[in-house]
């Protein structure tokens, strides 16, 4: 009973933490543009406040740089359990243009943490980011709440490189 109740509440209040682990900030400003009245993120009950300890959804932008290798795992483990990780942009998926000889990036991000949604584009349009959060977040958060400790092992920190 309590769990059902929690699920309902969680579905309509999603807290987002934005982590830029080393890209150009193109994707970040598209996420900021989501806050604008045209897209109005908050009407869906999504709130961006950049605090990993309260986050339900972690949005990752940028191709993991040297400094972030350890920190990205730490931030992931700080977020409370029913959590969803969405990668925004090509950077966390493949390293984009930075993943060449001479570059100092360690993409993809899925080498370090478990990723639920991937949004490609450099940068993706705000509407695409919004769509991705809305598609993946409410369902995943609700169904994962109870399973996280037992069945659903997918959500745990993977070993890393």
């Amino acid at each position: 009973m309590l769990n059902t109740f929690k699920d309902i509440v969680r579905k309509s209040s999603i807290h987002v933490c934005l982590v830029n682990c080393g890209g150009c900030n193109g994707c970040d400003i598209e996420i900021v543009a989501l806050l604008s009245p045209r897209y109005d993120l908050e009407q869906y009950g999504i709130y961006v406040h950049n605090n990993p300890r309260e986050a339900d959804v972690i949005l990752i932008t940028g191709a993991v740089t040297e400094q972030w290798i350890k920190k990205i795992k730490r931030i992931y483990s700080k977020a409370p359990e029913p959590k969803v990780v969405a990668c925004v942009g090509n950077c966390p998926l493949s390293g984009d243009v930075f993943n060449q000889e001479g570059g100092n990036v360690h993409a993809p991000v899925s080498d370090f943490i478990c990723v639920d949604a991937e949004i490609s584009g450099c940068p993706p349009r705000p509407s695409e980011i919004l769509e991705a959060i809305l598609t993946v977040a409410p369902g995943a958060i609700a169904s994962r709440g109870r399973e996280a400790n037992g069945k659903n092992k997918k959500n745990q920190v993977t070993g890393g490189k």
């Binding site: 982590v19 900030n25 900021v32 605090n51 740089t65 400094q67 243009v97 349009r125």
Partner: protein
């Protein structure tokens, strides 16, 4: 007490660590740790042709991505001794000024967010969307436009698009006047920003502040004055202020928006006919080229060897501005909340700033203070 802020913090969009030395609520000193987004762009560019590098130049910074491609293209053009055709120069000016408007709006809205004035934050973001539409109409993309090439621009603009942009600018002007007044004459917002985070002219000189941050402290320096396109075709005068506080910095950016709108209008109304791209034989040599990005001066120093880029070094304005913010603006700010707001007025763009990271292999850690500045 040392109060660390960041790298992930509600007030900051980008990763950076701000260490505030505080006594009670008062901030005595501030220190900044960089190095979270160093990607090694300059190193990747070495030994490649310009066609591969111009994408990388665009991704130095997402907010002022346009100016980086323009500066890169102009650097290579200068090495090869050609100039883009005048229609291309005008089109570049239009895009450049539109990009400047959206960047200034974003910077000011971030400041309002940092000082908890959500209304203005939302208003400015909604105005910014008009400009983003205009940019998308002209170039096809919102952020990384891929619009410049060495020798000109990639696509021609049609008259319908230019007319639509003029319409949008009218909308922007109408709304913006009111929002500027809210800020300029509102007692609360004014009190929160006047005489906070003051940087005098001397300090700005010492901290090498550039762009609107330097101009708000009385450094009358705008590289657009020296740029050949602006010098030959447009009427332009830099805007500057004397006070050097948060209010002046924000107002300086607000004042530059109508000026940019005016420049876009001048460019659209006098747009010459002709080619948009010339053929360029890439020469060899070394050139240093400066341009005024939304945040100040950006310098590209490039050495080419026939078709390939031998060495390139990029200096972006953010590094100087963040430095002078840490050294002079944040010194003696009354409260920690004001310190975050002051930091936001310096318009920090971390992705620009990360050119070098020195890694101590023995200890396995990134050096915090390269030149022993402490």
């Amino acid at each position: 007490m040392i109060l660390p802020i960041g790298p992930i913090h509600p007030g900051l969009k980008e990763p950076l660590r701000l260490k505030l030395q505080t006594q009670g609520e008062k901030v005595l000193k501030a220190e900044i740790d960089y190095g979270y987004v160093h990607r090694g762009i300059e190193r990747i560019m070495e030994g490649k042709t310009w066609q591969k590098c111009i994408y990388l130049a665009e991704r130095v910074c997402g907010i002022c991505s346009y100016e980086h491609t323009q500066t890169f293209a102009e650097t290579i053009e200068k090495i090869s001794n050609v100039r883009a055709p005048s229609r291309a120069q005008f089109l570049r000016t239009i895009t450049n000024e539109l990009d400047r408007i959206q960047s200034h709006l974003l910077a000011n809205s971030t400041y309002f967010k940092a000082m908890e004035h959500e209304t203005l934050f939302m208003y400015l973001l909604s105005v910014r969307e008009h400009i983003m539409d205009a940019i998308e109409l002209l170039t096809g993309n919102r952020v990384n436009m891929g619009w410049n090439v060495v020798g000109g621009v990639r696509m021609d603009a049609k008259q319908v698009h230019l007319d639509a942009i003029l319409e949008k600018l009218k909308d922007v002007e109408k709304d913006l006047d009111r929002y500027v007044q809210i800020f300029e004459q509102g007692h609360l917002v004014g009190l929160r920003s006047k005489d906070v985070g003051v940087m005098t002219r001397d300090e700005a000189l010492k901290g090498r502040a550039v762009g609107p941050i330097g101009r708000a402290s009385g450094l009358k320096h705008d590289l657009r004055e020296q740029h050949h396109t602006y010098r030959e075709n447009f009427e332009f005068k830099p805007i500057w202020r004397k006070e050097g506080d948060n209010f002046a910095r924000t107002m300086n950016r607000f004042d530059e928006i109508p000026q940019s709108i005016d420049l876009v209008r001048q460019a659209i109304n006098n747009l010459p006919d002709g080619d948009i791209r010339t053929k360029v034989e890439i020469g060899s040599g070394y050139v240093e080229w400066r341009n005024e990005a939304p945040r100040g001066e950006v310098v590209y120093m490039a050495e080419t060897n026939g078709n390939l880029i031998k060495h390139i070094s990029i200096r972006t304005p953010s590094i100087m501005n963040i430095d002078s913010c840490a050294k002079y603006m944040l010194k003696d700010v009354a409260t920690v909340a004001d310190a975050v707001a002051t930091y936001a007025t310096a318009d920090p763009c971390i992705a620009c700033a990360e050119r070098v990271a020195i890694i101590d292999v023995d200890k396995g850690e990134t050096s915090k203070d390269i030149f022993d500045l402490k």
